[in-house]
Symmetry: C2
Subunit: 213 residues, 2 copies
């Protein structure tokens, strides 16, 4: 008989995981503190080690779970791929609502980007699907063929998410210099602007484009 896990164990585990996501997103792998995670979760450190083994394993777990979810978070059907700008807008909105995941992605990139990364094959699937959808939209004349599908996806992701990687530059760019000891807010680029930029860059080259008509 399999143990039925009555009790709160699943909840406890989840609380720890959630706290870890927040902590890692805020401080990264090198800057985070196990004690802080436990305190944040309201769970004893002993439990954390009981469930996850060690900090490294917990980090890996967090990355695997959250970044796979992130890659799959904003779907892209063939239909939708015909207006990449709209898609970029949705990606931007998603990131704005879940900035922690975006930061997680960047920590992973800076701290471990050189090595093979957690669940690389699995995550690759999500991106491949989207690139393929874009390629089909190009083939059918809804998007320019003068830029590769992968590079169009690159542009979408970069434009929709760069602000979280360098918020200080965004603040400077928009002229919102942080004055007293105030915590400068995110300074996300305007959604309409991102939508417009991606549309303009991806629109078919001339004549009877099918997009928008």
């Amino acid at each position: 008989m399999i143990k039925l896990m009555a009790w709160q164990t699943e909840l406890t585990r989840q609380r720890l995981l959630d706290a870890a996501v927040q902590e890692f997103a805020e401080f990264g792998g090198a800057g985070c503190r196990v004690d802080r995670i436990a305190k944040r979760a309201g769970i004893s450190k002993e439990r954390l080690y009981g469930y996850f083994g060690d900090k490294e394993a917990l980090f890996t777990q967090v990355l695997r779970q959250e970044l796979a979810r992130l890659a799959a978070a904003v779907p892209l059907s063939d239909e939708q791929a015909r207006d990449l700008g709209e898609y970029a807008g949705r990606v931007l909105r998603h990131h704005r609502e879940h900035p922690a995941l975006l930061r997680l992605l960047y920590w992973e990139g800076l701290e471990r980007g050189g090595e093979a990364v957690v669940d690389e094959l699995g995550r690759a699937g999500y991106y491949e699907e989207k690139v393929a959808a874009v390629a089909r939209a190009q083939r059918d004349g809804y998007l320019t063929a003068s830029i590769s599908a992968a590079e169009l996806m690159y542009a979408v992701i970069a434009l929709a998410g760069w602000w979280a990687a360098a918020p200080q530059v965004c603040r400077i760019l928009t002229g919102a210099v942080t004055p007293p000891g105030g915590r400068g807010d995110a300074a996300v680029p305007g959604e309409e602007a991102v939508v417009a930029m991606v549309r303009r860059m991806s629109v078919p080259d001339h004549g009877a484009g099918a997009v928008g008509r």
Copy 2:
């Protein structure tokens, strides 16, 4: 009489600073190790503390010096602002040749992005100049006016530099999944693609645009 600094002191200092740039770029503020910096520089740790005080001060120094240089690195005259794509290409090339500085920028963004940042006012100047140049190019009809100058600059910087923030995603996007224990290379987007994307998004809206003709 001012002390003339004969001796190698300036060189010693510079070696330490250079090593610190490399170390910080590689590991960030939380992950770097003072001993490693000293060893990398071939200078004793004692000297490092003699010159810079402590790790925090050294980090601040590195950020101030290198990131101000980075902001000023790729100039943008009014003339050049008329072809933003070409400018994006230059920025990309610069980043590709000095990836350490780009990583420095991202570490700063992730670790300290929320707070007011080193030399924010000084650095703002460099960006303001460029935004202003773009705005003039828009006013004169060389670039679309449908996207704000600041947001166009945002796009240029994001497209030219995002790859270093999330190299793992770039690797996945381009299908170059890291196989053995191999250190996956940077997977920088193609320069022509970036140039093309920025040109397409910034081209004047219709009719007698002055660009490229």
